[in-house]
Symmetry: C2
Subunit: 163 residues, 2 copies
Amino acid sequence: MPDTAIAANEDSQSENEAGLVFQHVARQRIKLLDAFLAPHGLTSAQVYLLNRLLQEDGRTQVELAGQLGIGTVAVSGMVDRLEAADWVERRPDAKDRRTKRVFLKASATSKKHVLSEAAAQVNEMSFETLSGAEVDQLLTLMRRVRGNLREALAGEVPTLVRD
Amino acid sequence: MPDTAIAANEDSQSENEAGLVFQHVARQRIKLLDAFLAPHGLTSAQVYLLNRLLQEDGRTQVELAGQLGIGTVAVSGMVDRLEAADWVERRPDAKDRRTKRVFLKASATSKKHVLSEAAAQVNEMSFETLSGAEVDQLLTLMRRVRGNLREALAGEVPTLVRD
DNA sequence: GGAATTCCGTTCGCATCCTAATTATAAAAT
DNA sequence: ATTTTATAATTAGGATGCGAACGGAATTCC
């Protein structure tokens, strides 16, 4: 049957284009990073957490969630998987029996260069056609957008679209 | 090739910082968009698909996947949910019995302005502190990054990190 | 014609994120 | 001291994405 294309102005597409670009870049970077990491039995999200732990070990799960910008539930599940794979371990806090602190195990520490090389290669491929100045510009703008969104999400989500 | 912005011997955190920023922006935008859309019983991913259909209806699922930059598996699941909610419907192709074409139903068409207003509000909040020129600059750079990644993922993933 | 290949959509299993509710513990208020 | 409130982590359940594998259908190649 002929495609009865519903006529539409170009507004919805152009408004959505920004969102698609942001999503594509984030997802394609994840895909590429996963390809590099798969031979080592790691995933991209796990590497974000491991890299954080390589910087500083022994933080609580709430702290890790804040540093990575995800929720505590997501941290819980990831630490589950990383612990099962023997990359990290949970240790109880001495003073507060509610909290658990996450520590790297030796097997993870020895793979440190794998993680940073994989991240570096993804960056290299992402920014291949960009000059150093353009990369700086891009990251600066992205940080500002992140700040805007952080503020927007901190307060109440104000207005809703009328029906 | 960027020679200065991402030095290979920087610590893992700065190498990862780019990845975190891209992920945060994409995820926060989704979160904000979901908040706007929840009263209407929609999710952000569904809106990306609906907006595409508002532009042009009756494409096959493979075509939709290509246009949205996701896989056919993801499209299949989303069309399942959208069909269950009576926003769209699958119709068999006349010539090729393998393919199914996705059409909007009237209930979706009538909500068109909801979708574009929600997307516009997210953009407005994302770019609140940016000038129009900066937004253009950002989107242009992001499109170039997307192109780089697309090319990187099109070919074989070349080198693996040594253990 | 017939066989091999390619293509479309689906189901399955997994990882990652979310919100809401639950459990356990700690801290503050009365 | 007891009650209330707040916090840490988990469980439960859903949405979104992926790859692998499958069946059905079309196409291509002898």
